[in-house]
C-alpha cells in the first residue's frame, strides 16, 4: 500500500557550479550590491517625489528608529560600527539642516548623499555571502551526518554506524511536481513559496533543493538566526540573504525589496516564506506577507520591459508544503499566538532554537526516533497564479494558452502601475493559499489532534478557545469508541476531498483505523515533555497539554471539517 517516494538523488540540472546563478551572483557581488543600493536610492527618491523636505523627514525618521534600535535591541550579529555610523548620519543631517549657505538644489543633493550612504550600508548588510565550497561541504555534511545518525538508530549492531541501509530520504519524503520544477529551473526563474512551521524549514528546504539536483536558491533568512554561529554558517552556505525584522523603516524595506527583485531578474531562483514568520497558530498561512511576493511580480514586469519575452525571462511560482508530525517550537509558538490574540496574561520568550546545544539535541532525537516529514511540491504557476504547462506557457482555467505579458500591458505597451501590481500581489497571495490547501498532506497525527480537539470543544460548547485551553486536564476524557468513530467520519471526508484533488493524504492513512490512531498518537508532538494526546489506563483519549493539542489540530483548519461535529 505504501506509496513510492523519490529515493534516488536526481542528476544536477546544471552540472558545472560556475554556471549556477547564485555562483555568478556571488562572483559579481560587489557590483550587484552597488546596483541594488543605487536602484533602491532611486526608488526612494521617486517615492519622496524628489522633494527635499519629505526626504529630510524620511532621513530623520530612519535615524530616530535606528538609534532607538541600536540602543534598545542590540544583537550579537550587528556590526561594531553601528553606533558610529548613525552618529555620523546624525551629525551630517544636523549640518545640512543648519547650513544657510546651501540653496535648495544643493541641500537636496546633500540629503541624497546621505541616502546613498544608508542604502549602500543596507544593501551590503542584506547581500548574501554564498561560497560554493561551503555549500558543498554543508550539503555533504548534512547528508552524511544525518545518514549516520539515522542508521545508528535503526540498524542494530556494531557496524550500524557505517550502514547505508537508510538515507535521509527514508526520513523525508518528497512528493508532487518534482520533474516540473526541475525542468522549469533550467528554463526560467523559480520562486519557491513553502509553508513555514519550524526554524528547521530553511535547512530542510535547502537540502530538498539539492536532492532535486537544482542549484541553490537564495532566500531571506531572519537576521536573528545569524546570531547563532552554527546557523549563520549554514545560512551563508545555503545562499541566504539577511532580513532584519527590527528595521521597519522605508529605506530598509525598499532596499530589501530591490535586492530581491534584482536577484530574481539576475536569474537566481529564490525562496520566500510567504507567511513571513513561522505559523504561530499551527494553521496553514491564510494571510501572506505580500512585501517580498510583490518583488516577483515586479521582476517579471521588468523582464518584459527589457524585452525578455520568452521563457528565459519568466518567473514561476512554486508552492510547497512541509508536513510534520512534530514541531519543536510548538509550545512557544502557540503561547505567542494565544497571547497575541489577547487573552493570555503574559508570555515568556522561550526560543527552543536559542543555542546550538538545543539544536543538536533536537536533531539527535529527530533522527533516532521514527518521525517522518513529507514535502509536497505543488504545480508551478505564473506570477498571476495561472498554472503553466511543460513549456512554461501559462494556461487559463480552460486550458487555453495565454501570455503573462498581457497582464502588464495598457494601450499596447508594458507599463509600470504600482497600484495594479499591488492588486496582482493580493491575487497571487490568495492563489498560493489555495494551492497550499490543495497540496497539504494529512498525517495521522493531524487527524487525531483535530478530532480530539473538536470532540472536547463539542462537549464544552459554551466555552471560547481561551477557556477551553484552561480546562483542567483531568476533566477531559473521550471514550475510545467515540473517538474512533469521529476519526473515521473526518477521514472519510478527507478521502472525499482527496478524490476531488482538494487535499492530499499520507499513505499511512490507508491502514486500519486502530493502526492510524495508534500511529497518530505515537507521533503527534512526540518529543514534547507534555504530550498533546495520550490514552489513559482505561484506553480513553485525554491530553496533557490543551494548547499543544490546539496547535496540532489547527493544521486541518480551513477545510470546514469542524462542521462535521
Amino acid at each position: 500500500m505504501e506509496e513510492k517516494y523519490i529515493k534516488h538523488r536526481y542528476d544536477p540540472i546544471i552540472p558545472s557550479k560556475d554556471e549556477w546563478p547564485v555562483v555568478k551572483l556571488a562572483r559579481e557581488r560587489r557590483e550587484f550590491v552597488k546596483k541594488v543600493a543605487e536602484l533602491a536610492e532611486a526608488r526612494i527618491l521617486g517615492l519622496t517625489g524628489k522633494n527635499p523636505d519629505i526626504l529630510k523627514e524620511e532621513l530623520e525618521t530612519t535615524l530616530y528608529r535606528e538609534k532607538l534600535r541600536v540602543k534598545q535591541n542590540p544583537w550579537a550579529v550587528d556590526p561594531d560600527d553601528e553606533h558610529t555610523f548613525w552618529n555620523e548620519v546624525k551629525n551630517s543631517l544636523l549640518q545640512i539642516n543648519t547650513d544657510m549657505a546651501l540653496d535648495k538644489a544643493q541641500r537636496f543633493q546633500a540629503y541624497q548623499g546621505l541616502l546613498h550612504q544608508i542604502t549602500s550600508r543596507y544593501a551590503e548588510e542584506i547581500a548574501s555571502n554564498f561560497k560554493a565550497s561551503h555549500y558543498k561541504f554543508t550539503r555533504s555534511m548534512v547528508t552524511y551526518g544525518f545518514a549516520r545518525l539515522l542508521n545508528a538508530a535503526r540498524v542494530k549492531g556494531i557496524k550500524s554506524i557505517f550502514s547505508t541501509q537508510y538515507t535521509l530520504q527514508d526520513k523525508i519524503q518528497i512528493t508532487g511536481q518534482t520533474d516540473q520544477i526541475r525542468d522549469l529551473a533550467t528554463k526560467g526563474t523559480i520562486v519557491m513559496v513553502p509553508t513555514h512551521f519550524s526554524n528547521l524549514d530553511s535547512v530542510l528546504i535547502g537540502w530538498i533543493i539539492s536532492v532535486l539536483g537544482m542549484p541553490p536558491f537564495i532566500y531571506g533568512a531572519g537576521l536573528n538566526l545569524f546570531n547563532i554561529s552554527i546557523f549563520a554558517y549554514f545560512m551563508n552556505a545555503l545562499g541566504a540573504y539577511k532580513v532584519d525584522r527590527r528595521k521597519k523603516n522605508l529605506m530598509y524595506l525598499e532596499t530589501l525589496k530591490t535586492y530581491s527583485k534584482e536577484a530574481i531578474q539576475f536569474g537566481c531562483h529564490s525562496l520566500f516564506f510567504p507567511g513571513g514568520t513561522r505559523s504561530r497558530s499551527g494553521m496553514i498561512e491564510s494571510r501572506l506577507k505580500l512585501g517580498l511576493l510583490s518583488t516577483a511580480i515586479e521582476a517579471q514586469r521588468a523582464n518584459y520591459q527589457n524585452g525578455l519575452n520568452d521563457i528565459s525571462g519568466k518567473v514561476f511560482i512554486v508552492p510547497v508544503t512541509i508536513n510534520y508530525h512534530f514541531v519543536l517550537e510548538a509550545p512557544s509558538l502557540i503561547q505567542e499566538y494565544l497571547s497575541a490574540t489577547g487573552q493570555e496574561r503574559y508570555y515568556k520568550e522561550n526560543d527552543e532554537f536559542s543555542t546550538s546545544y538545543k539544536i543538536s539535541k533536537f536533531l539527535f532525537k529527530f533522527f533516532t526516533k521514527g518521525s517522518d516529514i513529507s514535502v509536497s511540491v505543488g504545480r508551478a504557476m505564473d506570477v498571476l497564479g495561472n498554472y503553466v504547462d511543460e513549456n512554461g506557457d501559462s494556461l487559463d482555467k480552460r486550458g487555453r494558452r495565454i501570455d503573462t505579458r498581457d497582464y502588464f500591458i495598457s494601450e499596447g505597451k508594458v507599463t509600470i502601475d504600482q497600484q495594479r501590481e499591488e492588486e496582482y500581489t493580493n491575487m497571487l497571495g490568495k492563489r498560493i493559499v489555495e494551492e497550499f490547501h490543495l497540496i497539504n498532506r494529512v498525517f495521522s497525527s493531524h487527524l487525531v489532534a483535530f478530532v480530539a480537539f473538536e470532540l472536547i470543544k463539542q462537549k464544552n460548547n459554551k466555552l471560547d478557545i481561551f477557556d477551553l485551553i484552561r480546562l483542567p486536564e483531568e476533566d477531559i476524557s473521550i471514550p475510545y469508541s467515540e473517538f474512533k468513530d469521529a476519526c473515521q467520519m473526518v477521514l472519510d471526508k478527507i478521502f472525499e476531498l482527496k478524490a476531488q484533488g482538494k487535499i492530499d493524504a499520507a499513505p499511512h492513512l490507508k491502514r486500519s483505523m486502530d493502526e492510524i490512531i495508534t500511529h497518530g498518537i505515537d507521533n503527534v508532538g512526540m518529543y514534547h515533555a507534555k504530550r498533546p494526546i495520550v490514552r489513559d489506563k482505561a484506553g480513553n483519549i485525554t491530553t496533557e497539554d490543551m494548547s499543544l493539542l490546539y496547535f496540532y489540530h489547527n493544521r486541518l483548519h480551513g477545510y470546514a471539517f469542524e462542521k462535521l461535529f
Partner: protein
C-alpha cells in the same frame, strides 16, 4: 497566443444595445471610435445601415457586429451593457476571445448563482456568499480578464439620451480602469466618480431594485410621500446591512450608486421594478404581471437570491423578507405593510 501591440489608437467596444447600452455607446462615440456587439443580424444591419436601434438614434460613426472575436480583437476596452438574465451566457461566449490585457466595465445590475450542476435555488433553499456572484465576479470567474470595473448610478437611459446632466460611478480595484473610464465618458453633461469598492457599488445597484419594488407598491396603494420617505430611509439601512454581509462597504451605499440611485429609482414610475410593485398593490398576481412584461424586472430575481442568502447569514432584512412573502408566498400586500409597521426598528441609524 496573439498579443496586441499595435500603437494605433484602439476602438472602444460596447456589448449590448438595450436602452442603456445605446446611451453609453452614443456618449462614447463623441470622443472615440465605437464598435457595438448585438446578437441579432437584423439589429446589426439596422445599426450599420439606418444608424438606429429599436427606433433610438445611434451616432452614425458607430459600427456593429455579431462576432465576439471581431469586437475583442478591435477593442482593448469593452463595456458590457447587457441584461442580467443574459449576462453569464454572453460572458461565456466572449471568454475564448478575451485576454489579460482587456479592460471590461459592465453596467449590469444583478446577481448570478454559482451552484453545482444539478443544483438550483429550489433544491438548495439557502445559499452562502460563495454561491452567489456579482457581475464582476462572473467576469473574473468565467474569463481571464482581471482589470474589471462596473458602472452604476442614477442613469435613466432616456434622460442620458436627452442630454440632461447626470453622473455615474465607475468602481474598480484598479485605478487605471477608473481613470480610463473617466477619460472615455466624462463630458460637460456627464460627471464620472471613482470608487475602489467594486463589490459595494455593484451591490448598491442590485439591492436598490428591491426597494424600488416596494416603492412601487406604496405608490400603488396610494400612500403618499411620508411613506416613501420612510421606505427610502429604512431601505437604505437594509441595503447597508445586506451590502456589509455580502462584502461591500457602508460608504458605497451612501454614495451616488447607492442612495443616489435609490432615490431616482424609487421615483421613476417607468422602471420595471417600480411597475411590478405598483401592479402588485393594485391586486395583480406575480405570474399575471410577468406574463405581460417582455423583460423580467431584475428586482424579482434579486429578492429571491437575497432572501435565500439571509437564511444563512443570520441577519434580518424585513423589507426583502416581506417582499419575498408577497411575491412568492401569496402574502397580501396589506399584511406585509402591517408587519413592517409593527417590526421593532428600535434604532434609527445603527451602522455608522
Amino acid at each position: 497566443m496573439p498579443s496586441k501591440n499595435s500603437s494605433k489608437s484602439k476602438k472602444v467596444g460596447v456589448v449590448g444595445v438595450g436602452s442603456f447600452g445605446t446611451a453609453i455607446a452614443n456618449m462614447l462615440a463623441e470622443k472615440n471610435e465605437v464598435v457595438v456587439f448585438a446578437r441579432k443580424e437584423d439589429v446589426v444591419e439596422e445599426i450599420n445601415v439606418a444608424h438606429t436601434v429599436s427606433g433610438r438614434l445611434l451616432n452614425p460613426a458607430i459600427r456593429a457586429t455579431t462576432d465576439p472575436a471581431e469586437i475583442c480583437e478591435q477593442c482593448d476596452i469593452l463595456f458590457f451593457m447587457i441584461s442580467s438574465a443574459g449576462f453569464v451566457e454572453v460572458v461565456r461566449r466572449f471568454a475564448p476571445h478575451l485576454y489579460p490585457y482587456h479592460v471590461i466595465i459592465h453596467g449590469t445590475k444583478g446577481l448570478a448563482l454559482n451552484l453545482g450542476r444539478d443544483e438550483s435555488l429550489e433544491s438548495v433553499q439557502k445559499i452562502k456568499r460563495s454561491q452567489l456572484l456579482t457581475m464582476s465576479e462572473v467576469i473574473l470567474q468565467e474569463t481571464v480578464a482581471v482589470r474589471v470595473g462596473c458602472l452604476a448610478g442614477p442613469n435613466i437611459a432616456k434622460e442620458l439620451i436627452a442630454g440632461h446632466p447626470a453622473a455615474t460611478v465607475i468602481a474598480s480595484k484598479y485605478n487605471e480602469v477608473i481613470l480610463e473610464g473617466q477619460k472615455l465618458l466624462r463630458s460637460e453633461r456627464f460627471q464620472v466618480y471613482g470608487n475602489s469598492d467594486i463589490i459595494g457599488v455593484e451591490l448598491s445597484g442590485v439591492l436598490k431594485n428591491i426597494i424600488a419594488i416596494a416603492s412601487g407598491a406604496l405608490a400603488g396603494l396610494g400612500l403618499g410621500e411620508n411613506a416613501k420617505g420612510l421606505l427610502i430611509s429604512r431601505g437604505m439601512v437594509e441595503m447597508v446591512h445586506l451590502s456589509k454581509a455580502l462584502g461591500g462597504s457602508v460608504q458605497s451605499v451612501m454614495g451616488l450608486a447607492g442612495i443616489g440611485d435609490l432615490v431616482t429609482t424609487c421615483n421613476s414610475v417607468d422602471s420595471r421594478n417600480f411597475t411590478v410593485g405598483f401592479r402588485l398593490a393594485k391586486g395583480e398576481r406575480l405570474d399575471e404581471i410577468l406574463a405581460t412584461m417582455d423583460e423580467v424586472a431584475e428586482g424579482i430575481n434579486t429578492v429571491r437570491i437575497v432572501d435565500a442568502f439571509i437564511k444563512t447569514a443570520g441577519i434580518r432584512a424585513p423589507i426583502t423578507e416581506n417582499l419575498h412573502r408577497v411575491l412568492f408566498e401569496d402574502l397580501p400586500i396589506s399584511d406585509a405593510l402591517q408587519f413592517l409597521m409593527k417590526y421593532p426598528f428600535s434604532v434609527d441609524v445603527d451602522f455608522v
